[in-house]
Symmetry: C2
Subunit: 160 residues, 2 copies
């Protein structure tokens, strides 16, 4: 259902499914990653009224998983580019992967995708520094989001 | 062999093969595109000593095709993100698609991939403003390029 691509590396199209509605890609050697692309393969759409929140997970100095919300993919916006190189010193955020206990390896981070109701996605605020593309990213998501009532307007801004 | 992804849209994995060594993806509504990802699917590598030069082609005001070299993909660097939103007023460059006579539609641009010898790629200078990621992009290409002797060092720089 999902693919993940680290700029400069081979595409990954087989995430680990860690729950019925949660998918995880490993990102080896994550400290040398600048941009990550997350996309739907186009084979299976989200169920009506659902979309995916995309998280970056990396180990902090004590080896604990830190999760940060990067953004969203939906049937109407089935791909996104995220900049993760500036996130490694950021604070973690609330996330739905709490009970997964993903094994943490010092050099391996994860991309986690959680399938959720679109109205739940609209309540979530991604880290602003992860946004790549332009102000259009927000506009596109807003306009195409099947009735999404976004409450945090300045989600996306040009990182370039 | 190749995939192409416009940020925000569905992935394309079936380019038009316009010659034995040349592949083209259409980019509808290209004026609303900021970033394009070009990647190898991972099924078929380049032949030994070969790589791909990646071009952006768009119609100028008179409908003539303008080609600009974005960069490269190789077996060692099988994906790249390019920023095309700043290129539409740029000048065209030399390109190997001259005789293709691709039909030009006002709102449709193309990504063209030309399979060439790595030493030929090393002679080519992409437009600097298309580079996304960081100075590492160049370093990575240089270090991993199987003996590439790049002559134009400041190819890539951070666009962000």
């Amino acid at each position: 259902m999902f693919g993940c691509l680290v700029a400069g590396r081979l595409v990954q199209a087989a995430p680990q499914q860690v729950a019925e509605d949660k998918f995880v890609f490993d990102l080896p050697d994550y400290e040398n990653i600048n941009h990550v692309v997350v996309f739907m393969l186009g084979t299976i759409p989200f169920p009506e009224g659902m979309g995916g929140s995309v998280y970056f997970c990396y180990p902090d100095q004590s080896g604990m998983a830190v999760w940060q919300l990067l953004g969203f993919v939906t049937n109407e916006k089935p791909s996104a580019i995220f900049k993760i190189s500036g996130l490694k010193s950021g604070k973690g955020s609330q996330h739905p992967f709490g009970a997964m206990n993903l094994p943490q390896t010092p050099t391996v981070a994860q991309i986690g995708i959680s399938v959720e109701l679109l109205e739940n996605l609209a309540q979530q605020t991604p880290v602003a520094s992860a946004a790549v593309s332009s102000v259009d990213s927000f506009t596109e998501f807003f306009l195409c989001g099947s009735g999404l009532a976004l409450q945090h307007v300045p989600f996306f801004y040009s990182a370039c």
